[in-house]
């Protein structure tokens, strides 16, 4: 059983919801990213989505675009991202890590090298925003061979047939993009999400995470009630961006941002 399955399964049995923060690796630098990952876990993160910076993040809003620019300016390459995970695993062997990003940096490394190195570093899953299932057939075996979960996005307009097809390729969890827009867009309608998640559950057995548009504890609680996991990105990345000095003030700020999300998810 993969670390992701284990973690989400254990939470599910206790009726708890997973908190999945997203951060961009290398923002503001690789050393700080490692500290941020540990501090997110201390504040209650169950799984971490670690963004691989890319020059052209087409699906991201301004907050994550700027984080990518900062990370690339700090010199963070995809090799460095794997090194961050390897060092994270020296002290944390339980919290699953999912790499999230775009296809081109993966293709540049080559699927064989990338999947081998990722698995060896301790990565558990990979989500490539611009890889729909139609184009995934040839690359799925590389990920399977290394025991990496492939995570796909489901949107409000994804057809039932495609959700089923994703089910064949994906493992770990599916990621429901709760609104039409880029990351960090406005707000989210919990009622509509509830209906849609219920429908997705009829088509796949995998846990359903919901992300894009969760900005505060109240929304986190509401979405947590109707899903298995919530993914929070832009508000966290924004907080990191406002503390370029890193260090204690950043970690204090992150704690006071993430703790309430955790509490809200844990409130019955």
């Amino acid at each position: 059983m993969s670390r992701i399955e284990q973690r989400l399964g254990a939470l599910g049995e206790k009726g708890r919801k997973a908190l999945i923060p997203y951060i961009t690796a290398g923002d503001p630098n690789t050393g700080e990213t490692l500290r941020i990952m540990h501090s997110l876990v201390e504040s209650g993160a169950d799984l971490i989505e670690l963004g691989v910076p890319f020059t052209d993040p087409m699906a991201d809003g301004p907050v994550i675009q700027r984080a990518c620019e900062r990370a690339l300016a700090s010199g963070c390459t995809s090799r460095d991202v794997l090194e961050i995970v390897r060092r994270f695993r020296e002290t944390d062997t339980e919290t699953p890590v999912v790499l999230m990003g775009y296809l081109n940096p993966v293709e540049a490394m080559g699927y064989e090298t990338f999947t081998e190195n990722a698995a060896r570093a301790g990565v558990d899953g990979v989500l490539m925003v611009d890889l729909p299932p139609e184009e995934a057939g040839e690359v799925v075996p590389w990920f399977r061979a290394q025991g990496l979960d492939l995570i796909f996005l489901i949107s409000p307009t994804t057809s039932d047939e495609r959700i089923r097809r994703m089910g064949e390729y994906s493992s770990g969890y599916v990621y429901y993009v709760s609104l039409k827009g880029v990351t960090g867009s406005a707000s989210i309608d919990a009622g509509a999400v509830e209906e849609r998640v219920a429908h997705i559950r009829e088509l796949t057995e995998l846990p359903v995470g919901v992300g894009f548009g969760i900005r505060d504890a109240e929304t986190a609680g509401a979405i947590g009630k109707v899903s298995d996991a919530i993914i929070v990105g832009s508000v966290i990345v924004d907080c990191i961006g406002r503390h370029p000095e890193g260090g204690d003030s950043l970690h204090q700020a992150l704690k006071s941002l993430v703790k309430p999300l955790r509490d809200s998810l844990d409130t019955p």
Binding site: D56, P62, L153, K180
Partner: protein, 407 residues
């Protein structure tokens, strides 16, 4: 070499692949719209009403067919093959871009979308989009890299006069690729009421196919005009390649003709060896950007490289996927010329034929200037004169250290 009828028909295949290239690499939110666009386009391209409307717009609004002009003086100065110019610069709005925007704006209208968006580099596609939007009463927003807004100020003003909103994109390298990122973000957000008019044969399937289909009118006319005027097909075709729409428009109807050699001319910038250019087919490698797999300019880690070209319309790190395929199978020769060579081409055509080409087009001229003397006088070259140079006057004047009065 030539392509067989079957090869041409099968490109792209049902999933939008040209050999190993193309496809639909986009985030999930756009898939449904792209599938819908594809099925509607496949239906409408057989629909007599749609085709009649498209063809009459091309005739009466764009001014087609455009002439095939014999560049007599240039030919005799160069002393080799005779040179013919396919005059896309005479299209309404001054470039081939409008052939495609007419087609896509009609699709928007038939699909009931009240708002159109577009990315633009040189501003020609932005102007062409704003123009058809004005004519059809569609809301219009144009994304343009901040650097290009500066370089192509005249076209920015034209778009605004036409009623379009122009957003200067400050992210990334502030050129065409960043404008395309921003247009894609707008589309994801407003996908219900918005049609994205992509300006070249790039982007996710079905765009490379439908833009090619709309632009192929260039090659179809050229073919017929060559037969009428010369009684023979041309020996060589030359076109500049940014995303590759004017080139594929000229080339496509000739892909099956063995005797026709084709040259796609990329922007060599300060020279390929300088690394400062925009020539992915000449010096890049395959990767994935903006929804398709194609040759890209990227670093060893897969980050997209900054590009340089004197011409904003060629300043793009990718290229349409069909060109990547045509390169790999050897059907088309992809070459490059430098900024300086292009400037010489610009001046030469202006001085000898009284035709001022766009700086993009000047790259094709520059290559033909090298090619013609290597060919026999009984042979012929057709250059796609993709656009006129008025928009580039400021850039050229700056190079001459001249300040154009009143600007």
């Amino acid at each position: 070499m030539k392509l067989t009828e079957e090869q041409i028909k099968a490109s792209p295949d049902a999933r939008g692949h040209f050999g190993a290239y193309g496809g639909r690499f986009v985030s999930e939110t756009l898939i449904d719209s792209l599938e819908h666009l594809e099925s509607e386009y496949r239906r409408l391209r057989e629909d007599p009403d749609f085709l009649a409307r498209f063809n009459s717009d091309l005739a009466d609004y764009v001014g087609r067919p455009t002439p095939l002009y014999h560049a007599d003086r240039l030919s005799s100065e160069l002393g080799g093959a005779s040179i013919w110019l396919k005059r896309e610069d005479l299209c309404h709005t001054g470039a081939h871009k409008v052939n495609n925007t007419i087609g896509q704006a009609l699709l928007a209208k038939f699909l009931g979308k009240p708002r159109v968006i577009a990315e633009t580099g040189a501003g020609q596609h932005g102007v062409a989009t704003a123009t058809v939007a004005a004519r059809l009463g569609l809301k219009c927003k144009i994304y343009m890299g901040a650097e290009d807004v500066r370089r192509q100020a005249v076209n920015v003003y034209r778009m605004k006069l036409l009623g379009a909103e122009v957003e200067a994109v400050e992210g990334g390298t502030r050129t065409l690729k960043d404008a395309m990122n921003e247009a894609l973000r707008d589309w994801v957000t407003n996908v219900d009421d918005t049609f994205y008019i992509i300006g070249t044969v790039a982007g996710p399937h079905p765009y490379p196919m439908l833009v090619r289909d709309f632009q192929s009118v260039i090659g179809r006319e050229t073919r017929q005009q060559c037969l009428e005027k010369n009684g023979a097909l041309p020996d060589a075709l030359v076109a500049c390649v940014g995303g590759g729409s004017n080139a594929i428009g000229l080339f496509h109807p000739f892909l099956g003709d063995e005797s026709v050699t084709m040259y796609g001319v990329e922007a060599g910038g300060y020279g390929i060896e300088s690394g400062q250019h925009a020539a992915p087919l000449s010096a890049g490698r395959p990767g994935v950007l903006h929804g398709n797999r194609t040759y890209l300019m990227e670093d060893e880690f897969g980050q997209i490289s900054g590009t340089h070209s004197v011409s904003a319309g060629l300043d793009y790190p990718g290229v349409g996927p069909e060109h990547s395929w045509l390169k790999d199978i050897g059907r088309v020769n992809y070459v490059s010329v430098t900024d300086d060579e292009a400037m010489d081409g610009f001046r030469r055509l202006t001085a000898v034929e009284g035709i001022m080409p766009a700086l993009e087009t000047a790259h094709a001229i520059a290559w033909a200037i090298k090619l013609a003397p290597t060919m026999r006088p009984d042979q012929s070259i057709v250059i796609n004169l993709s656009g006129r140079g008025d928009k580039d006057i400021d850039t050229v004047a700056r190079m001459d250290n001249i300040h154009v009065e009143g600007r």
